[in-house]
Symmetry: C2
């Protein structure tokens, strides 16, 4: 049996995802815990990691590398943001050893960049996936690349010669969730209607006047007799369509740029359809593999392996 | 004592607003009831109007004209939408006599227009305020005018020679409410900080890439150390700014067009600041007076007075 060498954790707001890796970075086992940072009481991260997570994984003594919101003021300890431009070496140098940890534990810093409108922009977790993606795709370590990580807070990242130089966050997933649950557009129906999704993509136009375009999701039901069951799919198409129409131009993405879409397979497929609707080429990459590769790379760099 | 001649009601989703008017349309008394359409059980509108509203107003036998969501399938009875273009005479001809009414009761129809992206757009209640505004401002009955009615679902209406020819709805107020209550931007603080509001207006830019601009409300706190207490004001400025930047161009509004802002005084003042930020001239009008004048005009036309 291959010996476990690292406990890799992506500890986000909602969930804690863990992978036990061998010395070569291959996954021996993986498990998710419903123990996101939003469910932690202040100060209890260390104890719950030691008393719940490690025993459940039979990983009491393994070195552990953690990324995500666990490094925020809501998590275990604050791993201060690195400023753009940031490389994987910068990230490894910024690893923080949290208080009250048993054994070797390190938390990855987030990254801060210059955002829209003079606000800064921030991420925690996606940077580790990005550097894992670069580790898995050596041909992307030179030149300029655009990486889109869809999700609650979608990240659009610009990489140049292996460094994250700029990024923009779009609250598309969160808008979808709050509108679907709490607004006049609320519906329990699954967003699984491809025709209504495509209708939403078309209605997104150039992504401008979004508050007005959103009302078309209501008006098409009340005024045109479309089924309210199709509203979530239409809303999904409208929001992803508006994002893919309006964010790439902010990053200087033209019709010849290929976008790397990195993340959950189902969500990546929706973004791929939306990007193609915009005439943009894209390629899909697995976010989980990238997270594992990124955490593994940080461990190797931190331990000089 | 002047004799009451009409019970005028704007019966919306959240509240029922009532005014007792004399024969000349002057307000003798007014009262609001927390009896919006969303709080009615199916089929009980007639009984509650007769047993609660009329007695409380000492208006058992008064003729009544109602507008708003009470004419929807969630209200008393459906008053079918009129299609644009629509005049006050069309609206009067479309009044519906609801079932089980005691005495003379009429419900105003809503209006349906061609919306964005091939969806239709709909309104119920704002049309009555619009025609009341025209009744109070005879100089606007000729020519082309743009009227903005801010609110949960803001309406931007194009009037030509006294007829409502086109309109666009923006869900700005609802976006503000759901984001403030249910998203990562949630806050109990009052949206009363003029500096943060102006900062939000500036961050709205041309109103495009809204999902990305919204994240600046988070990033300015986490990444730039701004007080989270100012988030609601910033969010209000960002959303109203995005609307006033992006919707007027859809209606062909240029820098020389004056926008009439019709509604609640506090909200109208925020829209006025936002429109001025866009370089657009505007004038504020009282929405309540317009509602009263509109309901009164419908009564006169329906009864041949």
């Amino acid at each position: 049996m291959t010996r476990a060498a690292l406990l890799a954790c992506d500890w986000g707001t909602t969930n804690l995802r863990t992978w036990t890796l061998d010395a070569g970075g291959a996954v021996l086992a993986s498990r998710d815990f419903e123990l996101g940072v939003s469910r932690l009481q202040p100060g209890e991260a260390a104890a719950r990691f030691q008393s719940e997570v490690r025993p459940a994984l039979d990983a009491l003594a393994l070195p552990a590398v953690l990324c995500g919101m666990i490094g925020s003021n809501l998590g275990w300890t604050v791993a201060p943001y690195l400023d753009c431009p940031a490389s994987v070496d910068d990230l490894a140098r910024g690893l923080v050893s949290p208080p009250s940890a048993e054994g070797w534990v390190r938390i990855a810093p987030g990254v801060r960049g210059e955002g829209l409108a003079g606000a800064s922009d921030v991420m925690r977790g996606e940077e580790t996936q990005l550097f894992g993606w670069l580790a898995l795709n050596p041909d992307r370590r030179q030149g300029r690349h655009i990486v889109c990580h869809p999700g609650t807070h979608a990240k659009w990242m610009v990489v140049e010669d292996g460094r994250l130089i700029h990024f923009v966050t779009a609250m598309t997933g969160e808008l979808f969730a709050v509108l679907r649950q709490h607004s006049i557009l609320k519906s329990d129906a699954a967003p699984d209607d491809p025709v209504a999704f495509a209708e939403g993509l078309a209605a997104a136009g150039d992504g401008g006047a979004l508050a007005a375009r959103l009302f078309t999701a209501r008006a098409r039901v009340v005024g045109r007799g479309k089924s309210a069951e199709t509203t979530p799919s239409y809303l999904s198409g409208l929001l992803i369509g508006a994002e893919t129409a309006s964010v790439p131009p902010l990053l200087g993405v033209g019709p010849r740029t290929q976008v790397a879409v990195l993340g959950d397979a189902g969500l990546c497929a929706l973004y791929s359809e939306a990007l193609q609707h915009q005439g943009l080429a894209c390629e899909i990459f697995d976010g989980e593999a990238a997270a594992v590769a990124g955490l593994s790379a940080l461990f190797r760099k931190a331990t000089g392996q």
